[in-house]
Protein backbone atom coordinates (compact mmCIF):
# COMPACT_ATOMS: atom_id res chain seq x y z
CA UNK A 1 0.00 0.00 0.00
CA UNK A 2 1.11 3.52 -0.73
CA UNK A 3 2.00 5.62 2.28
CA UNK A 4 1.41 9.28 2.84
CA UNK A 5 4.43 11.40 3.68
CA UNK A 6 4.60 13.41 6.88
CA UNK A 7 5.05 16.59 4.87
CA UNK A 8 1.71 15.80 3.20
CA UNK A 9 0.02 15.38 6.56
CA UNK A 10 1.59 18.59 7.81
CA UNK A 11 0.34 20.47 4.77
CA UNK A 12 -3.32 19.57 5.40
CA UNK A 13 -5.48 22.69 5.13
CA UNK A 14 -8.41 23.70 7.35
CA UNK A 15 -10.60 24.11 4.30
CA UNK A 16 -10.70 22.35 0.93
CA UNK A 17 -13.10 22.63 -2.00
CA UNK A 18 -14.73 19.22 -1.38
CA UNK A 19 -15.69 20.38 2.10
CA UNK A 20 -18.51 22.38 0.55
CA UNK A 21 -20.28 19.15 -0.52
CA UNK A 22 -19.84 17.62 2.93
CA UNK A 23 -21.12 20.72 4.72
CA UNK A 24 -24.06 21.01 2.29
CA UNK A 25 -24.93 17.35 2.92
CA UNK A 26 -24.75 17.90 6.68
CA UNK A 27 -26.94 21.02 6.57
CA UNK A 28 -29.58 19.13 4.57
CA UNK A 29 -29.38 16.13 6.92
CA UNK A 30 -29.73 18.28 10.06
CA UNK A 31 -32.64 20.25 8.54
CA UNK A 32 -34.31 16.96 7.57
CA UNK A 33 -33.95 15.72 11.17
CA UNK A 34 -35.49 18.94 12.52
CA UNK A 35 -38.42 18.64 10.10
CA UNK A 36 -39.01 15.00 11.01
CA UNK A 37 -38.61 15.19 14.78
CA UNK A 38 -39.24 18.80 15.81
CA UNK A 39 -41.50 20.62 13.36
CA UNK A 40 -43.84 17.85 12.11
CA UNK A 41 -44.95 15.96 15.24
CA UNK A 42 -48.32 17.03 16.62
CA UNK A 43 -47.90 18.11 20.20
CA UNK A 44 -50.14 16.65 22.87
CA UNK A 45 -50.25 17.84 26.42
CA UNK A 46 -48.68 15.44 28.89
CA UNK A 47 -51.14 14.09 31.43
CA UNK A 48 -48.40 12.70 33.61
CA UNK A 49 -45.34 10.49 33.44
CA UNK A 50 -44.44 6.86 33.91
CA UNK A 51 -41.31 5.51 35.54
CA UNK A 52 -40.16 2.20 34.10
CA UNK A 53 -37.44 -0.21 35.11
CA UNK A 54 -36.66 -2.33 32.10
CA UNK A 55 -40.06 -3.28 30.73
CA UNK A 56 -41.82 -3.05 34.10
CA UNK A 57 -43.74 0.01 35.21
CA UNK A 58 -42.56 1.22 38.61
CA UNK A 59 -45.00 4.07 39.14
CA UNK A 60 -47.19 6.53 37.28
CA UNK A 61 -47.91 10.14 38.19
CA UNK A 62 -50.75 12.37 36.93
CA UNK A 63 -50.48 16.14 37.03
CA UNK A 64 -54.24 16.80 37.07
CA UNK A 65 -55.11 14.78 40.16
CA UNK A 66 -51.56 14.90 41.53
CA UNK A 67 -51.72 11.20 42.21
CA UNK A 68 -48.95 8.64 42.26
CA UNK A 69 -49.76 5.04 41.46
CA UNK A 70 -47.06 2.57 42.44
CA UNK A 71 -46.77 -0.96 41.09
CA UNK A 72 -47.18 -3.42 44.00
CA UNK A 73 -43.82 -5.07 43.14
CA UNK A 74 -42.05 -1.76 43.81
CA UNK A 75 -44.11 -0.49 46.74
CA UNK A 76 -41.09 -0.58 49.13
CA UNK A 77 -38.83 1.14 46.62
CA UNK A 78 -40.80 4.32 45.94
CA UNK A 79 -41.11 7.17 48.43
CA UNK A 80 -42.93 10.42 47.63
CA UNK A 81 -42.90 13.70 49.48
CA UNK A 82 -45.00 16.82 48.82
CA UNK A 83 -43.12 20.09 48.41
CA UNK A 84 -44.14 23.70 47.69
CA UNK A 85 -44.13 23.43 43.92
CA UNK A 86 -44.89 19.75 43.52
CA UNK A 87 -43.47 16.45 44.67
CA UNK A 88 -40.17 14.72 45.25
CA UNK A 89 -40.32 11.06 44.33
CA UNK A 90 -37.41 8.82 45.30
CA UNK A 91 -37.07 5.55 43.41
CA UNK A 92 -34.64 3.13 45.07
CA UNK A 93 -32.82 0.53 43.03
CA UNK A 94 -32.93 -2.22 45.67
CA UNK A 95 -34.35 -3.03 49.10
CA UNK A 96 -31.13 -2.04 50.90
CA UNK A 97 -31.79 1.50 49.52
CA UNK A 98 -28.15 2.05 48.59
CA UNK A 99 -28.88 3.38 45.10
CA UNK A 100 -31.62 5.77 44.08
CA UNK A 101 -32.92 8.36 41.61
CA UNK A 102 -34.68 11.37 43.03
CA UNK A 103 -37.31 12.90 40.77
CA UNK A 104 -38.54 16.46 41.20
CA UNK A 105 -42.05 16.98 39.91
CA UNK A 106 -43.25 20.51 39.11
CA UNK A 107 -47.03 20.24 39.06
CA UNK A 108 -47.49 23.85 37.86
CA UNK A 109 -45.19 23.57 34.84
CA UNK A 110 -46.17 19.88 34.42
CA UNK A 111 -42.58 18.75 34.17
CA UNK A 112 -40.37 16.18 35.84
CA UNK A 113 -36.60 15.95 36.14
CA UNK A 114 -34.05 13.81 37.93
CA UNK A 115 -32.55 15.98 40.65
CA UNK A 116 -30.24 13.45 42.34
CA UNK A 117 -28.88 10.06 41.46
CA UNK A 118 -26.30 7.56 42.66
CA UNK A 119 -25.59 6.21 39.18
CA UNK A 120 -22.43 6.84 37.18
CA UNK A 121 -19.81 9.59 37.43
CA UNK A 122 -21.25 11.46 34.44
CA UNK A 123 -24.82 11.51 35.86
CA UNK A 124 -26.41 12.04 32.47
CA UNK A 125 -29.89 11.53 33.95
CA UNK A 126 -29.40 14.43 36.39
CA UNK A 127 -28.22 16.72 33.61
CA UNK A 128 -31.10 15.73 31.31
CA UNK A 129 -33.53 18.60 30.79
CA UNK A 130 -36.90 18.45 32.54
CA UNK A 131 -39.47 16.63 30.42
CA UNK A 132 -42.98 17.83 29.83
CA UNK A 133 -44.95 16.89 26.72
CA UNK A 134 -42.11 15.08 24.96
CA UNK A 135 -38.65 13.68 25.52
CA UNK A 136 -37.52 11.10 28.00
CA UNK A 137 -35.01 10.67 30.77
CA UNK A 138 -33.04 7.49 30.86
CA UNK A 139 -30.64 6.38 33.59
CA UNK A 140 -28.59 3.64 31.92
CA UNK A 141 -26.74 2.34 35.03
CA UNK A 142 -30.05 1.98 36.93
CA UNK A 143 -32.01 0.99 33.81
CA UNK A 144 -34.65 3.56 34.78
CA UNK A 145 -36.75 5.34 32.19
CA UNK A 146 -39.09 8.30 32.69
CA UNK A 147 -41.51 8.94 29.85
CA UNK A 148 -44.47 11.33 29.54
CA UNK A 149 -47.90 9.75 29.37
CA UNK A 150 -50.17 11.55 26.98
CA UNK A 151 -52.79 11.06 24.36
CA UNK A 152 -56.27 9.67 24.59
CA UNK A 153 -56.98 6.33 26.17
CA UNK A 154 -54.86 7.06 29.18
CA UNK A 155 -56.59 6.03 32.40
CA UNK A 156 -55.54 8.07 35.43
CA UNK A 157 -54.23 5.77 38.15
CA UNK A 158 -55.64 5.53 41.64
CA UNK A 159 -53.77 7.16 44.51
CA UNK A 160 -51.06 4.91 45.86
Amino acid sequence: MKKREISEIKSLKPFEFNDLFLYAFLIIAVLFLFIIFVISPSKKNAEGFTVKKGENTVCTFTYLNQTLSVNSDYINLVVSEKTDGGFIITVYTSNDKSGYNELTVDTTAKTVKVSKSTCSVSKDCVYSPAIGNDGAIYCAPHDLKIIPTNGSGYVPPVTG
Partner: protein
Protein backbone atom coordinates in the same frame (compact mmCIF):
# COMPACT_ATOMS: atom_id res chain seq x y z
CA UNK B 1 11.42 -2.33 11.19
CA UNK B 2 11.12 -3.82 14.68
CA UNK B 3 11.99 -0.45 16.17
CA UNK B 4 9.32 1.21 14.04
CA UNK B 5 6.65 -1.24 15.23
CA UNK B 6 7.72 -0.82 18.82
CA UNK B 7 7.71 2.93 18.42
CA UNK B 8 4.22 2.82 16.93
CA UNK B 9 2.91 0.55 19.70
CA UNK B 10 4.37 2.82 22.40
CA UNK B 11 2.93 5.92 20.73
CA UNK B 12 -0.46 4.21 20.38
CA UNK B 13 -0.29 3.35 24.10
CA UNK B 14 0.38 6.99 24.97
CA UNK B 15 -2.47 8.12 22.71
CA UNK B 16 -4.78 5.52 24.33
CA UNK B 17 -3.89 6.75 27.82
CA UNK B 18 -4.39 10.39 26.84
CA UNK B 19 -7.72 9.60 25.12
CA UNK B 20 -8.97 7.65 28.17
CA UNK B 21 -7.94 10.38 30.62
CA UNK B 22 -9.56 13.08 28.47
CA UNK B 23 -12.73 10.98 28.17
CA UNK B 24 -12.89 10.51 31.95
CA UNK B 25 -12.18 14.17 32.70
CA UNK B 26 -14.88 15.23 30.27
CA UNK B 27 -17.30 12.90 32.04
CA UNK B 28 -16.78 14.88 35.25
CA UNK B 29 -18.29 17.98 33.65
CA UNK B 30 -21.98 18.44 32.86
CA UNK B 31 -23.01 17.56 29.29
CA UNK B 32 -23.71 20.31 26.75
CA UNK B 33 -27.46 20.97 27.12
CA UNK B 34 -28.51 17.36 26.47
CA UNK B 35 -27.58 14.07 28.15
CA UNK B 36 -24.51 12.43 26.69
CA UNK B 37 -23.63 15.47 24.57
CA UNK B 38 -19.98 16.32 25.02
CA UNK B 39 -17.25 17.89 22.92
CA UNK B 40 -15.58 14.50 22.61
CA UNK B 41 -12.09 15.91 22.94
CA UNK B 42 -10.73 12.38 23.38
CA UNK B 43 -11.40 11.94 19.66
CA UNK B 44 -8.48 14.29 19.03
CA UNK B 45 -6.11 11.49 20.03
CA UNK B 46 -7.98 8.92 17.93
CA UNK B 47 -7.73 11.11 14.83
CA UNK B 48 -4.08 11.87 15.60
CA UNK B 49 -3.44 8.11 15.86
CA UNK B 50 -5.05 7.51 12.47
CA UNK B 51 -3.04 10.31 10.90
CA UNK B 52 0.31 9.58 12.48
CA UNK B 53 0.25 5.81 13.08
CA UNK B 54 -2.30 4.38 10.68
CA UNK B 55 -5.92 3.23 10.70
CA UNK B 56 -5.49 0.03 12.73
CA UNK B 57 -3.81 1.93 15.56
CA UNK B 58 -6.64 4.47 15.44
CA UNK B 59 -9.19 1.70 15.92
CA UNK B 60 -7.10 0.21 18.76
CA UNK B 61 -7.02 3.59 20.56
CA UNK B 62 -10.79 3.94 20.03
CA UNK B 63 -11.55 0.52 21.54
CA UNK B 64 -9.22 1.05 24.52
CA UNK B 65 -10.69 4.51 25.21
CA UNK B 66 -14.31 3.37 24.97
CA UNK B 67 -13.98 0.20 27.05
CA UNK B 68 -11.57 1.43 29.75
CA UNK B 69 -13.13 4.91 29.89
CA UNK B 70 -16.68 3.57 30.31
CA UNK B 71 -15.47 1.07 32.91
CA UNK B 72 -13.80 3.76 35.02
CA UNK B 73 -16.71 6.18 34.54
CA UNK B 74 -18.97 3.52 36.11
CA UNK B 75 -21.15 3.15 33.04
CA UNK B 76 -19.96 0.00 31.27
CA UNK B 77 -23.37 -0.33 29.57
CA UNK B 78 -22.36 2.73 27.50
CA UNK B 79 -19.96 0.46 25.56
CA UNK B 80 -22.99 -1.18 23.90
CA UNK B 81 -23.94 2.01 22.08
CA UNK B 82 -20.75 4.07 22.01
CA UNK B 83 -18.48 1.37 20.58
CA UNK B 84 -20.54 0.59 17.44
CA UNK B 85 -21.02 4.33 16.86
CA UNK B 86 -17.29 4.97 17.31
CA UNK B 87 -16.26 2.14 14.97
CA UNK B 88 -18.68 3.16 12.21
CA UNK B 89 -17.82 6.87 12.38
CA UNK B 90 -14.09 6.18 12.48
CA UNK B 91 -14.42 3.86 9.46
CA UNK B 92 -16.16 6.68 7.61
CA UNK B 93 -13.45 9.15 8.64
CA UNK B 94 -10.66 6.76 7.56
CA UNK B 95 -12.34 6.13 4.19
CA UNK B 96 -12.71 9.87 3.57
CA UNK B 97 -9.16 10.51 4.70
CA UNK B 98 -7.74 7.86 2.39
CA UNK B 99 -9.94 8.14 -0.67
CA UNK B 100 -10.72 11.84 -0.96
CA UNK B 101 -7.74 14.06 -1.52
CA UNK B 102 -9.49 17.40 -1.44
CA UNK B 103 -11.29 17.12 1.88
CA UNK B 104 -9.99 18.88 4.96
CA UNK B 105 -9.50 17.30 8.35
CA UNK B 106 -12.09 19.72 9.79
CA UNK B 107 -14.85 18.56 7.44
CA UNK B 108 -13.95 14.91 8.01
CA UNK B 109 -14.04 15.46 11.75
CA UNK B 110 -17.44 17.20 11.57
CA UNK B 111 -18.93 14.38 9.48
CA UNK B 112 -17.43 11.76 11.84
CA UNK B 113 -18.76 13.55 14.89
CA UNK B 114 -22.30 13.93 13.50
CA UNK B 115 -22.30 10.27 12.38
CA UNK B 116 -21.03 9.17 15.78
CA UNK B 117 -23.65 11.06 17.77
CA UNK B 118 -26.46 10.04 15.39
CA UNK B 119 -25.59 6.32 15.45
CA UNK B 120 -25.02 6.48 19.20
CA UNK B 121 -28.46 7.97 19.73
CA UNK B 122 -30.15 5.47 17.38
CA UNK B 123 -28.33 2.47 18.92
CA UNK B 124 -29.16 3.75 22.40
CA UNK B 125 -32.85 3.94 21.47
CA UNK B 126 -32.81 0.42 20.03
CA UNK B 127 -30.86 -1.24 22.83
CA UNK B 128 -32.67 0.43 25.71
CA UNK B 129 -36.05 0.43 23.97
CA UNK B 130 -36.23 4.16 24.84
CA UNK B 131 -37.55 5.28 21.47
CA UNK B 132 -38.63 8.62 23.02
CA UNK B 133 -34.96 9.62 23.06
CA UNK B 134 -34.96 9.88 19.28
CA UNK B 135 -36.55 13.38 19.57
CA UNK B 136 -33.15 14.66 20.80
CA UNK B 137 -31.49 13.56 17.53
CA UNK B 138 -31.70 16.94 15.68
CA UNK B 139 -30.23 18.83 18.63
CA UNK B 140 -27.55 16.18 19.14
CA UNK B 141 -26.56 16.37 15.48
CA UNK B 142 -26.13 20.15 15.85
CA UNK B 143 -23.94 19.59 18.90
CA UNK B 144 -22.06 17.04 16.77
CA UNK B 145 -21.25 19.78 14.25
CA UNK B 146 -19.79 22.01 16.99
CA UNK B 147 -17.86 19.15 18.57
CA UNK B 148 -16.53 18.01 15.17
CA UNK B 149 -15.32 21.52 14.37
CA UNK B 150 -13.57 21.77 17.76
CA UNK B 151 -11.91 18.35 17.45
CA UNK B 152 -10.94 18.93 13.81
CA UNK B 153 -9.42 22.31 14.58
CA UNK B 154 -7.37 20.93 17.49
CA UNK B 155 -6.13 18.06 15.30
CA UNK B 156 -5.25 20.53 12.54
CA UNK B 157 -3.30 22.74 14.96
CA UNK B 158 -1.59 19.74 16.57
CA UNK B 159 -0.39 18.47 13.20
CA UNK B 160 0.68 21.93 12.18
CA UNK B 161 2.75 22.66 15.24
CA UNK B 162 3.98 19.22 16.32
CA UNK B 163 7.74 19.01 15.72
CA UNK B 164 8.56 16.97 12.61
CA UNK B 165 10.95 14.66 14.45
CA UNK B 166 7.99 13.26 16.41
CA UNK B 167 6.42 12.17 13.14
CA UNK B 168 9.50 11.45 11.11
CA UNK B 169 8.41 8.03 9.81
CA UNK B 170 6.22 7.55 6.76
CA UNK B 171 3.19 6.69 8.70
CA UNK B 172 -0.27 6.95 7.22
CA UNK B 173 -1.23 3.95 5.13
CA UNK B 174 -3.28 4.82 2.13
Amino acid sequence: MRNLSLRKIVTAGIFSALATITFMLENLFPPIILPGARLGLSNVFILLSVLTLGAKFGFAVLIVKTVIGSLFAGNISAVMYSLPAGVISLTLEVLLLYFTKKTSILAISVLGSVTNITIQNATFCLITNAIEYICYLPYLSLIGVISGLAVGFIVYLSLKFLPLNLLKEKVVEE
